[in-house]
Structure formats: C-alpha cells, structure tokens
C-alpha cells in the first residue's frame, strides 16, 4: 500500500469535484497540465489582494514585502530541485527556458557576452545531440540554433521498447559534440531515462548537458546538482503551479558565463544610449517585470508537493502505472508505445493506440464518460513517426488520481472498439 491517500488529496483540488458530461471527472491529462490545489490558488490571491507591487524597484512598504516574498519563492523552488537560489532563473515555462539556452549560446557564437562566453560559441560542424523522444520544445530550438550557426543536429534513437539506445549514444557523442540535450522523462513514453550515463558520456567529451525535467519535476524526487547536468528546465503549470512560470536551473559557473537572452529592465547595472552592462545570474536572464504572483504561487505548489512527499508520490504513481499498463495489455487491439519491461522505472503515463479506431475518436468516447485523456502527437511527431503512427491516446496520472480512476479508464478503453464497430 502506498503511503499516500489520493482519495483524500482530491478534496484539495477544487476542479476534481466537477462533473463532466454528467460523470465524475476522471482527469488523466496531467502530463499536459496539472490541476491546482486550493492552497496554490489562495496564495496567489492573497498576494494580489494584499501585497501586490513591483519587485526590486521600489522602496515603499508593499514593494519591499513583495520583493521578499518573490525572492523567498525563488529559494523555495530552488530547494525543491536541490539547488541554491542563485542557480534558479525564472522563465515563463520550459519552452522559454530551452529557447533561452539556445539563444544565449547563439549570442555567444556571434561574439556577445564576456570573454568567458567564448567557450559556448559554436562552429560549423560542431554537433548538438538530442534524442528521438524529444518534445518539440527540446528539438526545434536546437534545429534553429543549428541553422543559425552551421552546427549539425544528431539524435539518439529509441528502441522499440521505448528505452534510449545507449550504445548508439556512446558512438554518437564524440569530440565534435558540444551540447547533449535530453528529456528526463519523455511525455509519451513515461520512462525515466538514465541521466547519469548520458552525463558521463557528455562530460567525457566536454559537452554541455541540458535536461528537460518537465515530466519529472511533478513525479519523482529531483536533485539536479546531484544529477550532474549543467542546465535543466521545468514548467510550473505541470507541477501544480500557475501557468506562465517555469524554472531554469544552471550550475553557477555556467549561468555566470552565458550571455543574456532577452534584455530590458532590471537586468542591468549601467545603461547608456549605446550600450548596457549586465547583472550577474540569475537577474541577467530576467529582463522586465517578472511573473511575481506566479513565482509565489509556484513556491506554494512545491510546498504542497513536499508536504505530501515526492517519494510517496512516486511510489503511489508506480502503483497506478502498473495497474494501467497491465490493464491495457489485457485489452484486445491495444498497442502501447514503448512498452518497456517491468523492471524499468517509470511514471504513471501510457500512450497507446486502439487498432482500427482513430485516437481522436477514442478520446471523444472516453470524454463522454468523464475521462479526460489527450489525443494527438503530443508535440512529439518524430517519436510517433518512429512507431509508425501519427497520433496516439495518452493517459497520464498524478498524485490526485486513484486506482478507481485507472479502472474507469480501462473499462472505457475496453468499450471503444465495439462502439465504433471494429471487429477483432
């Protein structure tokens, strides 16, 4: 038995009391965006109704209080991923975080930044390595960076069972490799990738490592410094927090050397009409008014996650994962994407197709029963192509899902083919 009582936690999430199509809402789309506990909503409202004011810019009482709350939130969220506050840059989300890194490296390549930025400059023929399992957010920014700099993009293949081809990675990552970017957990496969192995490969050739921690932050205990990556990104809205906020973690030495990305107010020391001097990290990367109320609410979200306990959450989701996967395997005509052996550690997320029925139709059928899943390519077209599909159905659970939710999903999926008149 897991130490977590998901049935009790549900009461903290107002939306889960909704009924959808006259059915109890079974929300299995947390990999797209998570639901928010009342504590997170209340924290943001309290800020807006009592303290709201511009941070880092005013001497008046509200401004000073807001600044303290905002910086405390940074320390809190940094601690959640095992980091120090100076190692956490606020972004508007994971996509913005990866773009920040890619543009900053692009800027270093055209000579921006100080002398310590030179080490990031790319030369034509330099290689950037990603995986075949990327979310578009960790793929297209690197394609664009490659196109701007003449670097070459390469990719680590995915085995039929969804695990990364580490042997191929070992030969792909070479002296020409400058950047290795990969997901901690793919949003389609749900498998926890071997970060340590990839970091060792990258470090052995002096390449920069970039971890997409979007799908791990809400589900597994995270210690980014211990993982040894140089940079990592995550999104608030996937981890019980608000939209429009995310974090970029970086080793201090890396953040301090990277040139700015967006420029504007609050990231400078001296500005003349012709040029500007920049503050150190993290402020250097935080141009303009920051997502203040969202940062403070995200701190409340990680507070909530920590109170439940990330170890308990992972254990609970493992139970759900096994129930979901074993159940799906038993249903006729189901093909799971990346159905790795049971020993492989994963989160409670399964993408699958129902043979003979389009994913959209499956989703619609489940929706009529109050079950919310996601259908489509989940921003991972290359991965779907690798499995010979254009779209799949994805069910993804979180701490607030119960075994009953999984059973309702399985029951629903069992009825799909007969409704659409597909015979086995």
């Amino acid at each position: 038995m897991p130490a977590l009582d998901a049935g009790a936690l549900r009461a903290d999430f107002p939306i889960l009391a909704q009924s959808v199509n006259d059915q109890r809402l079974v929300y299995l789309d947390s990999a797209a965006t998570s639901q928010k506990p009342q504590a997170v909503i209340d924290t943001e409202i309290a800020f807006l109704a009592q303290t709201n004011s511009a941070v880092h810019r005013g001497a008046h009482t509200l401004a000073a209080e807001a600044t303290v709350l905002f910086e405390d939130a940074r320390a809190r969220v940094a601690a959640f991923v095992g980091a120090d506050e100076e190692q956490l840059v606020w972004t508007s989300g994971a996509t913005a975080g990866i773009n920040l890194i890619a543009y900053s490296i692009g800027n270093a390549t055209v000579g921006r930044g100080g002398s310590d930025a030179r080490r990031f400059a790319l030369a034509p023929g330099d290689e950037i390595v990603v995986t075949e399992a990327e979310h578009h957010a960790n793929l297209i920014p690197w394609q664009e960076l490659a196109a701007r700099t003449g670097a070459v993009l390469r990719h680590i293949p995915v085995h039929e069972d969804g695990t990364l081809a580490l042997d191929a990675a070992a030969s792909l990552i070479s002296a020409r490799t400058r950047i290795v970017a990969f997901p901690h957990i793919s949003n389609v496969l749900g498998i926890i990738n071997p970060v340590a192995e990839l970091v060792i490969l990258a470090q052995s050739v002096g390449a920069l490592t970039v971890l997409d921690a979007c799908q791990s932050a809400p589900h597994v205990p995270l210690d980014l410094p211990a993982l040894g990556v140089d940079l990592a990104v995550f999104s608030g809205h996937k981890m019980l927090g608000p939209y429009a906020i995310g974090g970029l973690y970086g080793r201090a030495e890396i953040l301090d050397a990277l040139p700015p990305f967006m420029t504007g107010g609050s990231m400078i020391t001296t500005v003349t009409l012709d040029s500007a001097d920049y503050l150190p990290a993290p402020q250097r990367f935080e141009a303009g008014t920051q997502p203040v109320s969202q940062a403070i609410a995200l701190a409340a979200a990680v507070e909530y996650l920590d109170a439940v306990g990330m170890t308990a959450i992972h254990a609970h989701e493992r139970v759900l994962e096994r129930r979901m996967r074993e159940g799906l395997r038993r249903i006729d005509g189901i093909r799971l994407l990346g159905d790795a052996a049971d020993g492989v550690d994963r989160v409670a997320l399964s993408a699958f197709e129902v043979q003979g029925v389009h994913a959209h139709d499956v989703g619609q059928f489940l929706d009529a029963r109050g079950i919310a899943v996601r259908v489509g390519h989940h921003c991972a077209q290359p991965l779907h192509r690798r499995f010979g599909m254009t779209a799949s159905v994805r069910a993804s659970a979180s701490l607030y899902n119960t075994e009953e939710d999984i059973d309702m999903l399985l029951d629903g999926v069992s009825g799909v083919r007969s409704f659409f008149g597909v015979t086995a």
Binding site: H358, A359, D361, Q364, H384
Partner: protein
C-alpha cells in the same frame, strides 16, 4: 451517452468506413489538388477536384487518414458537390463553415447538405470542428486553383 450518439450517428460511422471518393482519380489539365493538415493530430488529406468548362464541379476524389469525423465528412462531401456549379459549391462550403463554427447554435439543412447534415452535431464539439472541416477546406482551396 446521448451526446456521444448524437455526434457519432450511424450515418457518420457508415461513411467513415465506406469512404466515398477514396483513392485519387487521375489528374488532368482541369484538375487541382489541395493538401491540408490538422496540426493538432497530424491528420492529413489530399483532395483532387476538376472543374468542367461549364464551371461544374466534377470527380472529387481524396486520400488521407484521420478520425471517423474527418473521413465521414470527406466521404459525404464527395457525392454532394458532384456536378454542382462552382459558385454554388463555394457558397455551400461557406454555409457549412458557418454552421460548424456556431457552437451548436445552427444546424445543417438536410435538403441542402444531404448526408452531411448528420455533421451538425460536431459544431458543439469545438475541438472536432477542424476534423469535419478538413475536406471542405481542401475542396475550397482546390476550387480556387482549378
């Protein structure tokens, strides 16, 4: 589950399997192709249409994969516009779009839309409107270039 059965009427499920017009006809000087894609699910359609000297729509044919709504919609469209004056087809497409975007407020007239009138229910499912529109957008685009 009346909602679901309202959306997936027999006629729709039947058309999604029958797929009238499936398989591209040979192209000639009077035909035009249109390729359309639904960026959300990656579904695609290639539709070919000829316009006669007298301005009549002829030989709509198509290929592609997609959900039952998109397949049924393409199938229903095929027979509906055969021989129709091009201007009338354009008006039909505009009318179809208006109803589908009405969020359940309008319905498709059976005299005018034939089997396709069964797609009225889709307009209440805003996420599925693109599926139903795919073939119609392809025809509109094809006609503008034929």
């Amino acid at each position: 589950m009346s909602g679901l059965e309202g959306l997936y009427q027999e006629l729709i499920l039947d058309h999604s399997k029958a797929r009238d017009g499936f398989g591209l006809e040979d192209a000639d000087g009077r035909s035009a192709d249109s390729h359309q894609r639904n960026p959300i699910c990656g579904d695609e359609i290639t539709l070919r249409v000829r316009v006669d000297e007298d301005g009549a729509v002829r030989d709509v044919s198509w290929e592609g994969a997609g959900c039952s709504i998109s397949q049924a919609s393409a199938s229903m469209l095929t027979g509906l516009v055969e021989g129709m004056p091009r201007t009338e087809a354009d008006a039909l497409i505009a009318g179809f779009r208006e109803v589908l975007r009405s969020r359940g407020k309008l319905t498709l007239d059976e005299d005018m839309f034939g089997d396709a009138a069964a797609l009225s229910g889709v307009s209440r499912y805003t996420a599925r409107v693109k599926c139903a529109m795919l073939a119609w957008v392809a025809l509109e685009d094809g006609l503008s270039r034929a």
